[in-house]
């Protein structure tokens, strides 16, 4: 099935069943091992109650991005570098 249709269906079903956010998405730069996932879960207890989907995106260079619904905690190196770049070039 096309990916967009998939996500739209998921949204529709979750709306119709009146459920609040149930899944969390973790993006990492490489495939995370179980031990590493456990460390993350123990740091953020809320993740233990939600379904986790893990994605691999080498583009983030290092670190992880955790997204629950529309709330994001961005701990990736790519974003840090981008913010650093912005601060240096701000108002120059």
């Amino acid at each position: 099935m096309d990916r967009t249709i998939n996500t739209q269906l998921e949204n529709y079903i979750s709306d119709m069943t009146g459920s609040s956010v149930k899944t969390a998405k973790i993006t990492a730069a490489y495939v995370l091992q179980d031990a590493e996932l456990q460390t993350i879960k123990s740091a953020l207890p809320i993740l233990q109650k939600l379904d986790l989907s893990v994605e691999v995106n080498p583009g983030i260079l290092a670190g992880i991005i955790i997204q629950v619904g529309s709330v994001v905690v961005d701990l990736s190196l790519q974003t840090k570098l981008r913010n650093y770049f912005k601060t240096l070039y701000d108002n120059l």
């Binding site: 529309s70 709330v71 994001v72 905690v73 650093y84 601060t87 240096l88 108002n91 120059l92």
Partner: protein
């Protein structure tokens, strides 16, 4: 130090301030669709109306529409840099502008970015653009005059600090000139001026800033500009940003003068934004809340009681009418909101009466309460003479067939009308105005020819400035005209005849 040394020092300070270990929790969304400057976003579950969102390119957006699965934001800047699929972050802040004392003398955009090529205003204080106007309890009635320096206005349609006075007229009748002359006249009067240019030509704003600089008025003026080439969203927000800046100074107990030039273009910008948002169109395609657009803006201009901080904001909104039609939608809206209006007519302008104020239908609902006593003394007679003149001016063609009394009235009236003319960018102090009008109402002009009035006034002002500085200063200070002064004035006026 060389330029590159300065640059390196600047970058090093910024680099030192950056915190690598800072963790932020952000509310994130994705751009779904972009349509004429309105961006539709998904995600952003916790965003509220009026929040600021930041796009990947750094441009900000203002949430203006909330639907079940998407939010609509207007882009406060260049929307051509935004792509579908871009990430958007909620800033958690409602729309606000950084305010600081250093704003004085600056030219800024409605979101606070500098337009005069100087450094950014870095301030920790942010004032919200949308704010509820002070309630009834916090206000005090208007009783302190705001001198415009224009004889016709200060004598007949006086403006007080905290009043909203509308300037209404066709294009090219001198509306901006009146506002700018008022700003120039505030020199040394401890009034901060804010000039808000909405949808103006860049050349016009540049010329205006140059004029204010030359007259040393930028020392107490802030210019907020969203010119015609700026997106409609910025033109829509410009007057609110200017009012936020004015409120900052009012909160410090200052008196502020704010000029909105002009609200017609503001209504057009808002109509554009509303139509793009597919909101239902009403009369003349304006959205249903176009009255609220201006009423919530103008209600924020008030005089505040000292108990609650004092200070005042006097508003001079400008409206451009089409073909003298003051019964149009937007003009009637604003007439019902403001505390009076100044009508400028093209006929008067073209016949040489400048400022082209139609004194008969212009009104100030604050009136004499906001007039210095000296001015009240001379203006009462002036009003009467002019009113009688207007009644019978239609008969001025039959002058040879009229009785003496009518001829005197016509003569007096036409002399006074000429006396009220004034060159642009040459405001007069209270004392000078009182003396000139006093000379007119006492009848000293009755015997000089009609085209001699201007020369007489020029001579009178020159004499005052050279020989009678003390007298003028006394009138300016005491604000009253006693018999002693009147005798002195008589001598001076007779000298000039």
């Amino acid at each position: 130090m060389t330029i590159s040394d300065n640059l390196m020092a600047d970058i090093s300070t910024k680099a030192a301030l950056f915190d690598f270990n800072k963790v932020t929790i952000e509310d994130v969304g994705i751009v779904k669709k972009i349509q004429d400057g309105i961006v539709l976003l998904t995600g952003l579950d916790n965003v509220a109306y009026g929040d600021i969102v930041i796009f990947e390119s750094g441009v900000e957006g203002y949430i203006i529409d909330l639907a079940q699965h998407e939010a609509g934001a207007i882009v406060l800047g260049d929307y051509l840099t935004i792509k579908s699929g871009d990430k958007v972050v909620s800033s958690g802040k409602t729309l606000s502008i950084p305010v600081d004392d250093r704003l004085i003398g600056r030219v800024v955009s409605p979101i606070g970015s500098p337009l005069d090529g100087k450094s950014r205003i870095n301030s920790k204080i942010f004032y919200p653009l949308e704010k509820i106007a002070p309630g009834v309890v916090y206000r005090k009635s208007v009783s302190v005059p705001l001198q415009t320096g224009l004889k016709a206005i200060d004598a007949l349609i006086p403006i007080g600090r905290g009043q909203r006075q509308l300037i209404l007229g066709d294009r090219g009748t001198g509306k901006t000139t009146i506002a700018v002359d008022t700003i120039i006249n505030q020199k040394g009067k401890d009034v901060i001026c804010v000039y808000c240019a909405i949808g103006q030509k860049n050349s016009k704003v540049a010329a205006l800033i140059e004029l204010l600089r030359k007259q040393q008025s930028m020392d107490y003026t802030v210019v907020v500009s969203a010119s015609a080439s700026q997106p409609a969203s910025l033109q829509y927000l410009a007057p609110y940003a200017a009012t936020a800046i004015a409120e900052y100074f009012m909160d410090k107990g200052k008196d502020v003068l704010i000029v909105y030039d002009d609200l017609t273009k503001h209504a057009w910008a808002y109509r554009e934004v509303s139509l793009i948002l597919r909101r239902p169109a009403g009369r003349e395609a304006y959205p249903g809340d176009v009255f609220y657009l201006h009423s919530r803006l103008l209600e924020r201009s008030c005089r505040r009681d000292e108990k609650y901080g004092g200070g005042s904001i006097t508003a001079l909104p400008i409206i451009e009418t089409l073909d003298g039609d003051v019964s149009g939608y937007i003009p009637t809206n604003i007439i019902s909101i403001t505390d009076g209006q100044i009508f400028l007519e093209s006929d008067l302008f073209n016949s040489g009466i400048r400022p082209a104020i139609n004194v008969g239908i212009s009104v100030s609902r604050v009136g004499g309460n906001a007039q210095a006593k000296a001015m009240k003394q001379v203006a009462g007679r002036l009003k009467l003479d002019l009113a009688q003149y207007r009644e019978i001016s239609a008969f001025s063609q039959f002058e040879s067939e009229l009785d003496e009394a009518t001829k005197t009235l016509l003569n007096r009236g036409s002399k006074i009308t000429r006396l009220l003319k004034q060159n642009k960018n040459q405001p007069l102090s209270l004392g000078e105005q009182v003396v000139v009008i006093w000379a007119g109402t006492k009848g000293y002009l009755d015997n000089i020819p009609a085209d001699g009035v201007e020369a007489f006034e020029g001579k009178l002002l020159q004499t005052l400035r050279l020989k009678a500085k003390k007298l003028v200063a006394t009138i300016n200070e005491k604000k009253i005209l006693t018999e002693v002064e009147e005798k002195e004035l008589e001598a001076i006026v007779k000298e000039c005849l």
